[in-house]
Symmetry: none
Subunit: 117 residues, 4 copies
Amino acid sequence: MKFDNSTPIYLQVVAEIKKEIVVGKIMPGDKLPSGRDLAVKYVINPNTSARVYQVLESEGICHTRRGMGTYVNEDENLIQEIKSNMAEEYLTAFLKNMHALGYEDQEIAALITKEGK
Amino acid sequence: MKFDNSTPIYLQVVAEIKKEIVVGKIMPGDKLPSGRDLAVKYVINPNTSARVYQVLESEGICHTRRGMGTYVNEDENLIQEIKSNMAEEYLTAFLKNMHALGYEDQEIAALITKEGK
Amino acid sequence: MKFDNSTPIYLQVVAEIKKEIVVGKIMPGDKLPSGRDLAVKYVINPNTSARVYQVLESEGICHTRRGMGTYVNEDENLIQEIKSNMAEEYLTAFLKNMHALGYEDQEIAALITKEGK
Amino acid sequence: MKFDNSTPIYLQVVAEIKKEIVVGKIMPGDKLPSGRDLAVKYVINPNTSARVYQVLESEGICHTRRGMGTYVNEDENLIQEIKSNMAEEYLTAFLKNMHALGYEDQEIAALITKEGK
DNA sequence: GTGGTCTAGACCACT
DNA sequence: GTGGTCTAGACCACC
């Protein structure tokens, strides 16, 4: 994986893992790689791994069991929440770009419904 | 400027320049920086500068005069065209992401109109 | 192959390949040599190979599949189009030379019909 | 000046000088550069200069006066002859290319008259 | 293995 | 000084 220089690496890894969950590549209850393994997998510093799991944990996506590892929560609505949060991110970024080009929300919505036909 | 590792630098610079034209920071008829200056400005290799201008030229946005420099075309509809093309690009990329998350066009349009309130 | 210093090498190789297609030495659907092989064949730099295929692709003559190679398009009219385009190029270059010598189109046409006898 | 690797340099210089005569850049009666000067001008070997003038002389285009230099002949028809010879060269090269593409003389002549309208 | 991108640096043609 | 071309070689993504 390549990293975007303009955003902290740990956030990019967080986003990557969230995607894998939404997509179903990682399922609720699954064990996530150890910090060491994550560091190897993404070629990052183990400290960065730790930060990644801190963030995921703080977002209620996973929990850590001392000596056992880190596991994806089995929360019913977890995937839905991640999904809508990511959608929100995509949306705001997209709208920011479109507004910069001079488009109004109404026009944009029209473009999308038109696109779908 | 920082570059996103996931897209070719030359395309990112192309997008940057197009934005400046749409926004009016660069006007039709203006001289664009020389390849060498562009290389300095964006901290890229002069060959990459050349590629940037090749792309812009192939898109009908500017023309080049050997030994004189590169100039933005004075086409009447140029700005409008760039604007709608970029919008189209943003849109399709956004929709692709949203569809991957399982959203339908209708839902997405609804999100946007809701956002605007 | 020897190159004419007065024209970019990549354009000369482009012309060479087009000729081979028109002549039937290369057929629609055929795989073109890899960039590296082309570089060896014509004793050029791999970057120059890349540029050759970029041009051919931009002219709709071939398409490229990452990791797979470059293939001649299977367009029905491809060969005819290449043929007439090349003819057009030869013609305009020739006429330019002849006009520079002071010949009129009528005289030139006469020279050709005379030649044919 | 750049030389074509596929033709002897001396012939290319000969062609160059002939062009300058047809174009009027060099006039009948003019003194041509000394062999040494020609060598400097075209960055060629003095022996090549000598060969250039041998050819031009053998074609009746100039004459050499021992100790005085080489002069363009003041022949009335000289320019006309050079002109038609060069035209002939252009023609045959052009026809060769067109024939290779599968064109007949008649078609070619038609293309030219059409072009002229 | 394939193509895609980028850097570094050289040389040329044109103004 | 400007753009245009070319080489050399590196690293990446995809198959």
